[in-house]
């Protein structure tokens, strides 16, 4: 009787809607993408044929795609590093000092995170404008005119400019996570280390950072996964240019798609998935190991 009830209490059909919704437009396309990536599927073909790893070989032989890969990795690692470094720094600063208006500051720096990236992209096109943009105007005003650049059209600096935009957008998010982590650390830890005569730096290394490990894990993994999928920010700011100086995987997939090269585009998509798994997963495991249980 009780056993029968246990079965009916949690019926399997409760999973039905989720399995259908997730299965239909996520699992099926993901699974078929493996097949499509091995075919010559393109806009001119009615019948698609299996070509093995040809798409992947061609992609890796393509200078443009190789640049795309390295741009994506540079973008991802730089944004991840910068937003975590700055986010942690600001969080520690904000946490140690008694500050009036701390919440207002939190609200302000978090603001860009809730704004659509497409709008932010356009705002920064204006800010980076070589002649009238605020960035160059400000640099000139402070006598740093020699630092003024054509931020989005100079191939040597364009990727950096897109990176800075994303750092501007997401540092507040990382900071808030770190701030919450810092506030969860019991005060007694610092007090007893005071008695032992530890200085500020030692406290940071031996107490703050280890106890902050869960927040670091979340922040780093989220940032890595999110930034490797970057698309609209690049599309709006540079559209991959100048040349392919800022081309990332998702903009590359878009250009493959618009050329009607569906097989190659899908292969590039698979490379992105693999990249995210092989970079995201180990980082998650390594950082998880370092976590200290409170």
């Amino acid at each position: 009787m009780i056993k029968r009830n246990l079965q009916t209490r949690y019926p399997n059909w409760f999973l039905g809607p989720a399995i259908f919704l997730f299965g239909f437009l996520f699992v099926i396309p993901t699974l078929t993408s493996f097949y499509y990536s091995l075919t010559d599927w393109n806009i001119n073909r009615r019948v698609i044929t299996f070509v093995g790893l040809k798409n992947f070989k061609e992609l890796f032989a393509d200078i443009k795609f190789r640049a795309t890969l390295s741009n994506t990795l540079i973008y991802s690692f730089s944004v991840t590093f910068a937003r975590n470094f700055l986010g942690l720094l600001f969080a520690i600063m904000l946490n140690t000092a008694f500050l009036k208006g701390r919440n207002l500051f939190r609200v302000i720096v978090f603001l860009p995170y809730i704004i659509a990236p497409v709008v932010i992209g356009y705002l920064f096109t204006a800010i980076y404008h070589p002649v009238n943009g605020i960035l160059n105007q400000t640099l000139t005003f402070f006598g740093l005119g020699f630092l003024a650049k054509d931020w989005l059209n100079d191939p040597s600096i364009a990727l950096f400019s897109t990176i800075m935009t994303d750092v501007w957008r997401t540092t507040g998010f990382s900071m808030v996570i770190y701030l919450a982590g810092l506030q969860a650390i019991p005060h007694e830890y610092y007090e007893s280390s005071d008695i032992d005569g530890a200085n500020g730096f030692k406290k940071l290394i031996h107490i703050t950072l280890p106890l902050l490990a869960p927040s670091i894990t979340v922040n780093v993994v989220l940032a890595l996964i999110g930034t490797m999928k970057v698309f609209v920010m690049i599309l709006v700011l540079t559209n991959g240019g100048p040349g392919y100086a800022t081309e990332v995987i998702n903009t590359y997939i878009m250009s493959m798609f618009s050329l009607g090269l569906y097989g190659s585009g899908t292969a590039a998509n698979i490379i992105l998935s693999i990249l995210i798994v092989i970079i995201g997963l180990p980082v998650l495991l390594i950082l998880k190991k370092r976590e200290v249980e409170l």
Binding site: T8, R9, Y10, N12, F14, P17, A18, I19, L21, F22, L25, F26, I28, P29, T30, T32, S33, Y36, F90, L94, T96, A97, L99, F105, V107, V109, F110, L111, Y113, I114, A116, P117, V118, V119, L123, A126, I127, N132, I134, Q137, W168, F173, V176, I177, A180, P214, V218, I225, K229, F231, V232, V236, Y262, N269, I270, L272, S273, I276, V277, L281
Partner: protein, 275 residues
């Protein structure tokens, strides 16, 4: 001496905070003041009050049908996706956490993979064309639900652990069926993570660009984010009007954020930590 040092330290921190706030706010201020300027003056991007303030830009934008349509479409999309994700996600999370079957386990693993792995956009377009839901609201809603479901299930499953099983047993003894138990008992108890999931999903759908960019070609069905993209490519020489458009797009978002900032910040960050 220590006192003097703390005061200097506090001052430094204040200065840094103010400087950072300025860096964050400058783009928005630039957008706002220039939205009241004419075509020539706004192209200078100066942070200064307009010489001859004008509302022409706003009139131009508000007279565009696709501004209103975009707002309406985004609203329809984000609300329906949120309802669908929350309801089906809660149903799944409830059974996944309570039961130990193989089906539950594998559903959970598959969903977990869905958090990390990016969508395969080209096969998705193909599948939607074959099933004739490409370029439809229903298609876009189903797509967003698929993409946002994993996170919600993950979050809710984690929270379900804190709800004691004895509650279900008590309800069962009273003769309560599973669906009634879920709706009347479990959903109210899941209120906190459902608020988080709502905030995360609405923000994700409202701000998303790539899905409608690939999946919707009919301009009448574009959400506001695509309208912005399209508007700027049409008016890119007239920054005043572009800024007015963007101000109007951001205004409701910033107002909602102003009122609910505590919940939004907590929702988006604790949601991330739990996920």
């Amino acid at each position: 001496m220590t006192n003097k040092r703390t005061i200097t330290y506090q001052t430094i921190i204040y200065v840094v905070c103010i400087l950072l706030s300025v860096i964050v706010l400058v783009p928005f201020i630039m957008m706002f003041v220039n939205s009241f300027k004419g075509i020539r003056e706004s192209a200078l991007f100066r942070i200064s009050l307009p010489k001859k303030p004008t509302l022409t830009n706003y009139k131009t934008v508000l007279s565009k049908l696709y501004f209103w349509r975009g707002m309406r479409n985004s609203l329809i999309l984000s609300i329906s996706v949120t309802l669908l994700v929350n309801f089906t996600g809660a149903m799944a999370a409830f059974v996944i956490q309570r039961k130990n079957g193989i089906l539950c386990k594998w559903t959970y693993y598959a969903l977990f993979a869905g958090i990390i792995i990016p969508v395969s956009i080209i096969p998705t377009i193909q599948l939607m064309m074959q099933t004739r839901i490409h370029n439809t609201y229903i298609g876009l809603i189903l797509f967003y639900t698929a993409v946002n479901l994993p996170f919600t299930v993950f979050l809710l499953t984690g929270f379900m652990k804190t709800i004691p099983k004895e509650i279900d047993e008590a309800a069962m003894i009273e003769g309560c069926g599973p669906f009634r138990m879920f709706v009347q008992l479990i959903i109210p108890l899941l209120k906190t993570p459902l608020v988080t999931s709502t905030i995360v999903t609405i923000t994700a759908v409202w701000n998303d660009f790539s899905a409608p960019f690939y999946l919707i070609s009919d301009s009448k069905k574009w959400p506001i984010v695509i309208s912005v993209y399209n508007f700027v490519s049409q008016y890119y020489t007239d920054w005043g009007t572009v800024f007015a458009f963007m101000t109007l797009v951001l205004l409701p978002v910033i107002i909602v954020y102003g009122f609910l900032q505590r919940y939004i910040i907590a929702g988006l960050t604790t949601g991330a930590v739990k996920g």
